[in-house]
Structures are given as C-alpha cells and as structure tokens.
Symmetry: C2
Subunit: 366 residues, 2 copies
C-alpha cells in the first residue's frame, strides 16, 4: 500500500510499519538533524558570523550540546525559563531574545546573570528600567541588546533614532551594559536591515557607544547570513525543518528530520479515514496551509480537520488507501510548538530507533 516515497526517502530505510511504535509519536532522524546542525554552522563560518542557534525549537540539552560540539558560540533562548534550564545544564553563554518584564522575574533574572554570561534584548524604556531594578546590586552588569524592527513588525524600535535613544537609556541605567542590537529581519531583506543598523551604529558612535554584538536571525534568513550587518546569527527551526520551511524554500524535503507517526484508527465512510493524532499531538498550526500537516506516504491525502485526539483525513484523491491499523507519517506544518508538547522524543540513527532524548525546557513559558 506504500505510495512512491522518493522525495521523503531519507527515512524510508526504517521499516516503521512493522516497528513496535506506540502512536501517535514524533520521531526524529538524528542523522538528518545533525546534518542540519553542521550545515548551519558551515553557513555561519563561511559568512564570518558567530552561530548562536535558537533552542526554542528543540528545548533540549542533548541537542544544544550537539550544536556547541559542532561550533556554536552560544545559544539563544526565548524565555527566561528556558535559559534557566540550559544554564543549569552548564551552558555558559546565553542570549534571551525577549523583553523580560515583571517583578516576579526579578530574582530569577539576577540569579541567572550571576550564573552565566547572559544577554537579553529590550525594545522599550519600561523593560530597561525593570531589568535595571532586577540586576543592579549584582556582581556584574547584565548585557542588553536593543531590539530593532527592520521591517518584520513584531517587536523592536522602529527607527534608528529611537534605537540610539534607547541605547542611551540602557547605558545610563545601573546594572546594565549596552551591548549592541538585535533584529529579526524580514526574510531576505538585507539592504533595508543593513542601512538601519549602519545608521544606529553612526548615532551610537556619536554618543560614545559601540555595537559589540549585532544579532540577526530566522531560518529562512540563513541563506543571507552575514549580509544583514550582523556579528552573530540565530536560527532555530532549521535543526528539524518542517512543511513551512520546505514551502518557503528554506530547506529541501529530505532535510526534514521530524515526522509524527500516527495510526489509522477508523475508516468511517468512503473517502475518509481517521488517524490517532489531533490538535494535542500536532498542534493546530496552519501557518498558511489549508490543512494540518502532510501525510507524506499518501500523496493527495488531506488532514483537513482536527479533534483533540483525532485527525480527519480526506483520502478521496489518493491512488491507494491506507488500511485501519496502518502507521503513516505526518510532516508537521510548524515544528516548534509541536516539540513543546512532549517530555521526550524518540530518535533514529542509521535508520533504526536508537534512543530518546528529553525536551528539557518543555512548557517553560515564563
């Protein structure tokens, strides 16, 4: 019943259909993931920028260490809680690319800053003052990057003037060390980002401030690494990739390292089967797609609806039909929130199930 699998051939050597796998379950091909790690490192090396992978995708000490082993200069986290987990595991150069805010985080932030080389980002004076309150009185200053919006319109100050002003605010606050800029550029927008950064650099120089670090990121932007005027690059998703990255051209199908294995549990009516993976297994991320993931073994199938533990699959357009009891693979739309659902994930080496690793920072949202 197996459809043509050439495109996804990298994991076809493992006979998952007869394996004793308890579905639904995400499975990572660690050979592919490691190849993705090595490739990102080579891209950064060739571009002359430091590689600071974003661990929000894998949230795993095991994989973070693999990234360091292959040459990463440090890691990026999105939340303080992730950074705490990684610091406890010995990571000693951590960027938290986030506006950390609120009294409840003061002690945690101060403790973490004593423990590791910590850098955070900030796009407004309220956050800057709060960071200062949290860490002033500590043994060393907290390194702060001013976040700049160079066109993506998420966070970040929206003009070079505002960036330089905030750099001055940060620099004047006790306990903080202005260390440079952080941006999450729109995909491929190198010129626009570079001119923004150059302008900030000039304004900062006039104020006697230098940009020790300029941090850029985003898996789709890896192709332009070094061209944003950055000194370091953050990419997260590329370690596993997903349907979205394939669709954006940021990777090839054979670079996808994680599939969710699901069982056909029902064939309730002609043209429709049900899998045992739904919104609690795959997330409800659509990210622009018309359905919830790609059944790579059944071209033409559409995972068009979810219940929490059920996936509705339209198989009316398939040449062959999966049978009840059969295991199929789903390529997720967006891998990062999915990994965050699991305490640990199984992995393959040489096409065989070889072990499991912990998603150590799973659920660390604050």
């Amino acid at each position: 019943m197996l459809a043509e699998m050439g495109k996804w051939g990298a994991v076809s050597s493992w006979d998952f259909r007869s394996a004793l796998i308890d579905t639904p379950a995400p499975v990572i091909d660690l050979d592919i993931a490691e190849r993705n790690i090595v490739r990102a490192q080579a891209i950064c090396d060739n571009a002359g920028v430091a590689n600071r992978p974003h661990i929000k995708t894998h949230k795993s000490v095991f994989l973070g260490r693999l990234q360091l082993k292959h040459g990463a200069a440090g890691i990026t986290c999105q939340k303080l809680g992730e950074a705490e987990i990684m610091a406890a595991a010995g990571f000693n150069d951590i960027l938290v690319s986030y506006n950390i805010l609120g009294r409840a985080k003061h002690r945690r932030l101060a403790t973490l800053n004593e423990k590791t080389v910590l850098t955070v980002s900030c796009d407004n004076a309220v956050v800057a003052r709060d960071l200062s309150t949290a860490v002033s009185g500590g043994a060393k200053p907290l390194k702060v990057l001013v976040e700049c919006d160079t066109g993506r319109h998420r966070c970040g100050v929206t003009s070079p003037t505002a960036a330089a002003e905030l750099a001055g605010v940060v620099n004047a606050l006790p306990g903080l060390a202005f260390s440079g800029l952080l941006m999450y550029p729109p995909n491929g927008e190198t010129a626009q980002t570079r001119s923004f950064i150059d302008e900030v650099r000039t304004l900062c120089a006039e104020a006697g401030l230098s940009l020790e670090t300029v941090s850029a990121g985003g898996t789709p932007n890896l192709a332009w690494a070094g061209q944003f005027g950055e000194s370091e690059f953050r990419a997260g998703t590329n370690i596993f990739n997903d349907r979205q990255m394939v669709s954006l051209g940021a990777c090839a199908p054979e670079d996808c390292a994680l599939f969710v294995y699901a069982t056909i549990v029902s064939h309730p009516e002609p043209g429709r089967v049900m899998i045992d993976a739904g919104s609690k297994t795959l997330t409800s991320e659509l990210v622009g797609f018309g359905d919830y993931g790609e059944l790579v073994d059944y071209p033409g199938a559409s995972l068009y609806r979810f219940a929490e533990e059920h996936g509705f699959v339209d198989v009316s357009g398939c040449k062959t039909l999966p049978e009840v009891g059969e295991i199929v693979r789903v390529l997720p739309n967006h891998i990062c929130p999915l990994v965050n659902l699991y305490d640990e994930i199984a992995y393959l080496r040489d096409g065989e199930l070889a072990g499991r690793f912990a998603i150590d920072a799973r659920g660390k949202v604050n």
Copy 2:
C-alpha cells in the same frame, strides 16, 4: 486603565494587576470550576442519567476527585495514557472513548483492564480483533461499547445495521464483553440520535444482545441530557468553559473559570501592543474565531497574530490602552489543548491565589 468588567466580574475581586504573578500563566477560579461541576451533576441527576465527566479537559487527579465527590459515577478518558494515570490514582471506573489500536498498547491495555473497571469504544472489526488479542487470557473480559455516528461524522459506524453487526463481532471475540453503544451526537440532535439508538437496540435484542450502557456526550449537549436515549453522559469542557462555549450559548461569560494572564511587553507602534503569550501559551486554536482569544479587560482589542511567545494585539479600537508592564487576561478560544501545555496550574479560591494543582496526564497522547 481598567475597562468596564461587569461581564467578567466573577474574578474581578482579585487584584491581579498588583499580584506577584509570573506571566504568562493560566489561572483557574476554582469556585467557578466547582460550580460548573455541581451544575453538570445536577443536570445529569435531573435527567436520570449517570454523569461520567470527560477528564481530557483537565487531565487532573485533583479535579477528577472533585467530580467524583460531587456525584460522578466514573470518568471518561480519551487516551489509554490518561486512563493509566487516573487508575494509578485510584479511579476505578474508567471509559476510554477511543479506538485503541496497535501491538505497542497490548500489554498496557491488558494491565489496565485487570486494575480497574475499564470500558473502551470501538467502531470497526480491526480494532475489535486487536482488543481481543490484547486482553484474551486475562482474568475478566474488557467491556466494549460500539461507537455510532449519529450525525457528527467523526468516528462511529454510520448505520444501525452496521452497529448491530459490529456488536455481534465484539460479542463473539474472546476476552470482550459487548456492553452497549457510544455516540457523540451533533449538538442538540436528539431525535435523530434516539431513533438510531432505538433501531440498534431492536436489532441487538433480536440477536440476544442488550445495551447495558448507552453513552452520550459533549458540553453543548448538556442542555439536552437524557434526551438522546442515553444512560450516561460525558462532558469535559464545561468544567472550565471557554470563548467557544460562550459563543455556542453553552455557558454564560461568568461561567468561564480559566483565563491566561499575560503581560504587555511592548508597544512597538501606535495601535499595536505585544503580550508575552503566543502559540506555546494559548495554542493556535481558532475554532471559527477570527483571532486567538479575547482580551476581556480591553473590549475592542484583537489578538490577531501569534509568534510562539508573542501575541500581537490590535488596540486601535480600544477606548483605553494597556500600558507596557500591565497584566491583562485572555479568555482562550478552546481550553482543552491549552491545559495540556502545562504541568500545573494555579487556582483562586474566594478571589485570591490559593494554590496550584498538577495536570497529571499532560502530554499523554498514547
């Protein structure tokens, strides 16, 4: 800066804006949740049906016990892994309303059937034979309900004839005890469901089989409890409720027991603020809404886009604007996958933070 809060007044007595709460965080008003438990029990009691709440919503031993204390006859789980957790905590009458399938689950299923009064559902002969293989040879039979599709088009056999046939298959298999029917009726479709069930009952009687249990469910269907021809009722979402349940008229706004508390971390441009809650905090469930949740303190605000740890809020239509550093409450679109993101959740009693309880079966997808 506080907008008029009458509609959501039940939790307004807690001064969450000055509380030392580490956002983002879901917080449950346990007084409201308990009132919802009591109300569901009263509805079932009045309708003369057993109450078998679905714990897939809360996944919590603590709340399951509260449901039993208020009169529940047993509990419903959606996955074997959930049932294992609840059985280990002493729950001794568990329905798993799911097609359990696959060799990897055989030993787990057999062990669980020895440990507790276990019932499962099944809508096809492949699953029935697999269940039999798993449990035959055990000390007691596994109780099996045949799942019927009375119009929702999820799982279930689609005709009374097919239901009676599958009942016969189940009854003939070693280790299985045919125990009745299970359905998840379309909201309010009582006549259609009742006539389907009546027809199966007649066909089964002709074959010498009786329907010990007829199980119906769905929070929106609670209003029609007892009218589906059922002997027991399963409802899950009603313990907390959510924006979807309010929208469907299945509850009033003041029956919503869970809000996610988030901090305004940035005001990057006029008309837009950013909160520290995104897809990893609130899930990406839209369930028909145009945005990702309701900022109940700011009428007119729209949580229109997510990053993993960022929520994009359009506040251009708000009379007052939230300030950076302010904590706001988000009513989630769909509560069930959200609860599954957290290991434990804080709760209020009498409007004050009173403790935390574990989401014991979090992440138990198989």
